[in-house]
């Protein structure tokens, strides 16, 4: 029996690590998506932001974030489980504490990755990274503690399986706050209400990014079941995999068709956003719905994301990659969709969670962005935007030969 507990523990820990590695791999997914959706003169800079924010998220979450979110009182991660503890628990302690940290830390990075896309092409590099320090060390963990850390939102019956709200909407709220203070890219909106198209420079990269994110999402949602080692849990993880996949498929098809109807052509970027929208939409509850329900919830997400992208543009909220729509608007939809499939969720619980996370994150982020803006500035000058952030901030062109 003890041997079985030992092996179970190993299996659950391994499951957690593999799922975490998949989530970690979402980092290049975001990086490629964003690199493909900006102009080439800003590509090295967005890449630099993406690699640096990932590293910052890891460091800040290790030093303070994890302790804020999951208690442990103080800094750093707590001690690893001893064999005696595990055996004494009779299987209640069923995975390594380190594996838990690993799985959690890659979520923080995901939340932060959302932001870099929304503020792309006009945000100063170091101001952004400073925000990343605060966001990953304090803002994200604070609101995360309310639900996953066992705080008041978990008491309020708020259901958010893998983080449509806690991760995605949270990132989008912080992004929105930044975008409002930052303003649109130079030339994005004309004086008479024109919305000018600014094309992304590299569609294969954007597509690769989307597929990597889809792949990584199996870890994101699949790992959020937290346990694998018996029949029920294994069935649950499998169900989560299938539902996650179906939601992405539904979102992609819905967005592609809607774009075809609205715009006359098969807008690839909308299809990419549609798949991600489906994924965000199902993330709050990828377990309790049927496969077909999940597909439909994803499809609705795909419709929403197209409308949201067009709508934000109308409101002159400039988001080069559609991050606020994908993660914010669809994050909200995901939280609401829980009510369709889950018996555990209540309208009040969901609204409480939604309001608390959105309100807190938006306000906290607004304050932090504002302070950074006052002290260092956050917006690249028009001249820097003209020559591009790569020249202004990085000194290395993404494709130095192509524009020669």
């Amino acid at each position: 029996m003890e041997d079985l507990i030992q092996l179970s523990y190993a299996v659950d820990t391994f499951y957690f690590l593999v799922m975490g590695a998949l989530v970690m791999f979402m980092a290049p997914g975001f990086a490629m998506l964003e690199a493909g959706m900006v102009r080439s003169k800003n590509t090295s800079e967005i890449l630099t932001k993406n690699v640096a924010l990932f590293a910052i998220a890891c460091v800040m979450y290790l030093l303070v974030g994890y302790a804020i979110m999951y208690g442990g009182g103080g800094m750093l991660i707590g001690a690893e489980n001893t064999v005696d503890e595990v055996l004494a628990s009779g299987g209640d302690v069923y995975y390594s504490a380190r594996s838990d940290f690993f799985f959690q830390v890659v979520f923080v990075a995901t939340a932060m990755s959302i932001i870099s896309g929304a503020v792309a092409e006009r945000m100063k590099l170091w101001s952004f990274l400073l925000f990343a320090v605060v966001m990953t060390g304090f803002i994200y963990p604070t609101q995360g503690s309310w639900s996953w850390g066992g705080g008041f939102l978990s008491d309020a019956g708020f259901v958010d399986f893998a983080g449509s709200g806690i991760v995605h909407m949270c990132g989008a709220a912080a992004a929105l706050a930044g975008v409002l203070l930052l303003g649109p890219r130079q030339g994005k909106y004309g004086p008479n209400g024109e919305v000018n198209a600014i094309q992304g420079s590299n569609m294969p990269l954007a597509t690769l990014g989307m597929f990597i994110l889809w792949f990584g999402w199996f870890g994101f949602n699949g790992g959020s079941e937290l346990k694998l080692s018996n029949i029920d849990e294994a069935n649950a993880v499998a169900q989560v995999f299938v539902n996650t996949n179906m939601a992405a498929a539904g979102g992609l098809i819905a967005a592609l068709i809607l774009a075809r109807i609205l715009f006359g052509k098969a807008d690839l970027t909308m299809a990419l956003n549609g798949a991600l929208a489906g994924l965000v939409s199902i993330t709050a509850e990828p377990l309790s719905g049927t496969n077909v329900e999940s597909m439909l919830i994803g499809a609705v997400g795909g419709v929403i994301v197209v409308l949201s992208i067009v709508g934000l543009d109308k409101m002159r909220i400039d988001d080069p990659v559609g991050a606020i729509s994908v993660h914010g608007t669809c994050g909200i939809w995901g939280l609401m969709a829980v009510l369709i499939t889950s018996d555990d969720a209540t309208l009040s619980g969901q609204l409480t969670g939604l309001g608390a996370i959105l309100g807190f994150t938006f306000v906290a982020a607004l304050v932090v962005w504002f302070v950074i803006k006052m002290i260092f500035g956050i917006r690249l000058s028009d001249e820097d935007q003209q020559v591009g952030a790569d020249v202004a901030e990085i000194g290395i062109a993404a494709y130095p030969e192509f524009s020669k």
Partner: protein, 112 residues
């Protein structure tokens, strides 16, 4: 000598190059350009926002030739680059005062 500059549709490049070779043009230089003209661009939507594609991809051919060849060259280009649609392009002729072959230092018509 003359410098003949032709702006044509990209997929006609091979045809024009052959036609020029046939009338005895031994060298030319080609540039990728964008053209704006009577051939109207079209409006596209990118993520719901309109943009006008008014600069269309063209290819510019420059060939320095002997004066005597001018008519033949113009005819060769005109025929080979002409599917008879708007946007087929232009030919411009300017006077060339001097030409030098760097390798040999030759000048004048012998250098082109």
């Amino acid at each position: 000598m003359k410098l003949i500059t032709a702006i044509i549709k990209p997929f006609k490049l091979d045809d024009v190059r052959e036609a020029l070779s046939e009338v005895g043009v031994q060298g030319m230089t080609v540039t990728e350009v964008k053209g704006f003209g009577r051939q109207k661009g079209h409006t596209e939507l990118y993520r719901g926002a309109e943009y006008v594609v008014d600069f269309l991809p063209k290819v510019k051919i420059e060939a320095a030739i002997d004066d005597a060849l001018q008519d033949q060259v113009i005819e060769a280009i005109s025929k080979s680059a002409n599917p008879g649609k708007v946007g087929d392009g232009k030919i411009f002729v300017t006077a060339l005062e001097e030409a030098v072959r760097i390798r040999t230092g030759e000048t004048g018509p012998g250098a082109v």
